[in-house]
């Protein structure tokens, strides 16, 4: 299967790029083997090997994003979309066949999932994976065998499904299989209802743990009269212990749409940040020895929180947290008329000391360490009926921008609109660098398809971030970045021998002559979606790179001095 717009770039370009691969120590390309040289006293340093590859040249520089249709739909087999089918499903990007290209997996609410094998140059081959009625999806090396696996959450009463990548066996078969196959395996100890999930090393023991959250209203629809009393429901932390997982219920009540595992407080330990729909407050758990305590970090949160997103928007080393909600992006009579009948139906929640507002929220820490909502001040509080939202340096100026996909289809809520659909334009926001955001219609990312899950990743290996959206009741879309601004550095971590081979949770800090940029290695994020473990730093074209510091999930650090610009680094940790 090919995407709708074929392109001229030949495969040998990529091969040539691979010939440029250098092992560390070759000076010409700027990639350097750099055993960690400077590190905080209390953190051990570990040596790394660095291999750099060049990016492919961009196919075209139109100065905008170009939308490509991917031959995948979800929700089209149903006669009508009602709540909560309306919540759609996610998409994940990562390398499934270890060829260096990022592949895609789409979950579907009404049919099987689909793998899109990336053949390079935006050519994909699709393959059906018999995992039905999915919600969330992540591509992560669960069993640490060097091949990324696929994990789904589901609508209804199904929990998590684990599709083990049999790449190792496929490669050894005779003749070698052209692509890895996948087999459904149990995840020992994981039995909870799961709408949303997040992967990460939450207890710092070097392996990947899993946090799941159920969606109470959907359980009610499926006959669970009292979800909070059901032992499979709630927010559940599954701590891995050598290939099996031990469940710890964090909260019996859950209307969870998104979960993040990130070091929100900057204390070197990951917190678990759970976003709930409706009146149920969002919650953050912090590790306290062997227990997990709820901490009140925020004075204000979104009400029906659909996405959790985090990143360093201001290049000051601190995280700013973003959540999405339902709030019309303009107040024209035409827009409001579409919303008003639904707004008259939904139940408004009021309670003393309720921190929830029906708007996007941007949490920024002030000088005293308190989180403050600055979404309105920065112009990103209202982006429509918003689902997936991601930060990413789309124009490669060294600043994280923001993209939000939106829209709603529900015949029981929007019966007054054609096809029961609230049609909205996705919203792209350019980071101005002074804290505020400008709308960026010039990027032509204002698709009116009903977006749900969304990831940003470099799908064509040209160095910049493309965007992939799983649309409900419409074709999935790939927005090819043809802005051709700036430069970039991408980093893949490899931690052989570890149970967290991609270094999920590692923090990368890139020092340049124009500021310090921080990124995290993730496995999942946003709304129901799985992130590629590949980290992207956008940079002004003339930026000089001074050092890349890696804080591995176990706290060890590595530093690479003067990494090359416009390259993808594969950084392999060596503990010997």
């Amino acid at each position: 299967m090919k995407i709708s717009q074929p392109h001229p770039i030949l495969r040998w370009h990529w091969l040539v790029a691979h010939l440029l691969v250098v092992s560390v120590g070759l000076a010409g390309c700027g990639a350097e083997r750099a055993p960690a040289s400077t590190a905080p006293v209390e953190r051990p340093t570990v040596a790394v090997e660095v291999v750099a590859t060049s990016f492919q040249p961009p196919r075209e520089c139109s100065g905008a994003f170009v939308a490509h249709r991917l031959d995948f739909t979800t929700g089209t087999r149903l006669r009508a979309i009602s709540t909560y089918i309306s919540n759609g499903a996610g998409v994940a990007a990562n390398d499934l066949d270890n060829d260096g290209d990022l592949d895609l997996v789409f979950a579907s609410v009404d049919r099987e999932a689909e793998i899109f094998w990336n053949d390079g140059s935006l050519v994909f081959t699709s393959q059906t994976l018999d995992d039905r009625f999915g919600r969330g999806v992540a591509i992560v090396d669960v069993d640490a065998d060097g091949w990324n696996d696929i994990v789904f959450t589901h609508r209804g009463l199904d929990g998590v499904s684990f599709w083990r990548n049999q790449g190792g066996e496929s490669a050894r078969s005779s003749p070698p299989a052209p692509r890895p196959s996948f087999a459904l395996h149990p995840l020992p100890g994981v039995d909870s209802y799961a709408y949303a999930m997040a992967w990460g090393d939450v207890d710092g023991d070097g392996d990947l743990d899993l946090v799941t959250g159920s969606y109470g209203v959907e359980l009610l629809q499926h006959g669970i009269d009292l979800p909070a009393a059901d032992p499979r429901a709630g927010v559940v932390l599954h701590l891995q212990q050598e290939g099996s997982w031990q469940a710890h219920v964090l909260d019996r009540e859950a209307e969870t749409l998104s979960i993040a595992i990130a070091d929100l407080t900057g204390d070197g330990q990951s917190e678990i940040w759970v976003a709930n729909d409706f009146a149920l407050n969002d919650k953050v758990w912090q590790r306290n020895g062997a227990t997990w305590d709820i901490v009140q970090l925020f004075d204000q949160t979104s009400h029906s929180t659909m996405t959790t997103e985090w990143g360093d928007l201001d290049n000051n080393g601190g995280l700013t947290l973003f959540t999405t909600d339902m709030n019309p992006y303009d107040i024209s009579p035409h827009t409001l008329a579409a919303w008003v009948p639904m707004m008259n139906q939904i139940e408004e929640h009021r309670a003393a000391d309720d921190p929830q507002v029906m708007a996007n929220v941007l949490q920024v820490r002030d000088g005293a360490g308190r989180w403050q909502n600055q979404a309105t001040r920065r112009g990103i509080d209202a982006s429509g009926w918003s689902w997936g939202a991601r930060y990413g340096d789309l124009d490669q100026d060294g600043l994280l921008d923001l993209y939000v996909v939106n829209g709603m289809i529900a015949a029981d809520m929007f019966g007054h609109l054609p096809n029961g659909e609230l049609v909205e334009q996705n919203q792209a926001y350019r980071n101005r660098g002074d804290g505020a955001f400008d709308r960026a219609p010039q990027w032509q990312l204002g698709s009116t398809a009903s977006g749900r899950g969304m990831v940003m990743a470099d799908m064509d290996n040209d160095g910049d971030l493309d965007i992939v959206v799983n649309n409900l009741r419409g074709f999935a879309q790939l927005f090819e970045n043809q802005l051709c601004h700036g430069a970039s550095l991408q980093v893949d971590l490899a931690w052989p021998g570890s149970a967290n081979r991609a270094g999920v949770g590692a923090q990368l800090t890139l020092s340049t002559d124009q500021g310090v940029l921080r990124r995290d290695v993730r496995a999942s994020g946003g709304y129901l979606s799985g992130d590629a473990a590949r980290v992207h730093f956008g940079l002004p074209a003339d930026a000089a790179l001074r050092a890349l510091e890696i804080v591995w999930p176990d706290g060890a650090t590595s530093t690479i001095m003067t990494p090359s610009n416009n390259a993808r680094l594969i950084v392999t940790r060596s503990d010997e």
């Binding site: 009579p333 409001l336 008329a337 008003v340 408004e348 929640h349 009021r350 309105t376 001040r377 112009g379």
Partner: protein, 262 residues
Amino acid sequence: MRQSTLTHPARLNVQAALPLLRLPDPKQHTRIVLASLAIGLIASYTAVALGWLPLWAATAMVLIVLTPAGALKWRDDYHRYGATIMGLSILLTAQGLHTVEHLVQWAQYNLLYWTMRQSNGLLSPANAEWVHFTWNWLVLITVVLLMIGGMRGGWMWVLLTVALFHTIEHSYTFIRYQMILRELTAMDVLNVTAQGLPGIVGRDGWLARSEWTRGTWICTIPGLTTAVRLDVHFWWNILEMTPLLLAGHFYLRGQAAAGRFE
């Protein structure tokens, strides 16, 4: 022997110092006013207790029962003091009750944590865009007429300014209400109200959400661009009631000094 001279402060004549307090006095109509009030309250309480009427209808019943007595009182004001003071008396009574309504709404929302939809005060059907629109134009016209009738001064100009902006705010919401109704009608949605949407100021209002203020400090001015509509209009009425009381006070004191308000 030392002698001290004790001076007794003059007894404060509240009625003289605050002539505004004399204005609501029904005088010879006191009995009829009290009787009307008693009848209205008993009837409305009974009707609500027995479930015959909702609270808003009972409140309206009290006001309707009181109207004849009020008309007699205002006619008396006209004959005693002239049209301007009668107009001031009517405006004070109406705006006073209006402020009570907003105070009840504010308490429902901020103290009882009722939803915006529930926080309708005592006269919920009156919480409609056309009522707000008409009311504020009538207030503005009355203020202008009072000024023409001789009631001027600094506070009156403040009142005029506030009333003008309040009327512009309600004209904006009313026009947008009509535009949204037209959109809804075009969608064949006829049974949905579009009441209570933000106006120029307040959270999600024009000032906070227009493209030229988006992402600026203007969007987060406490109250002005952050308050919900219910709070915004509570404060609009406080802002309007305060200069009205002060303007009335100074005007009546002047009239009393001139022997025209005994």
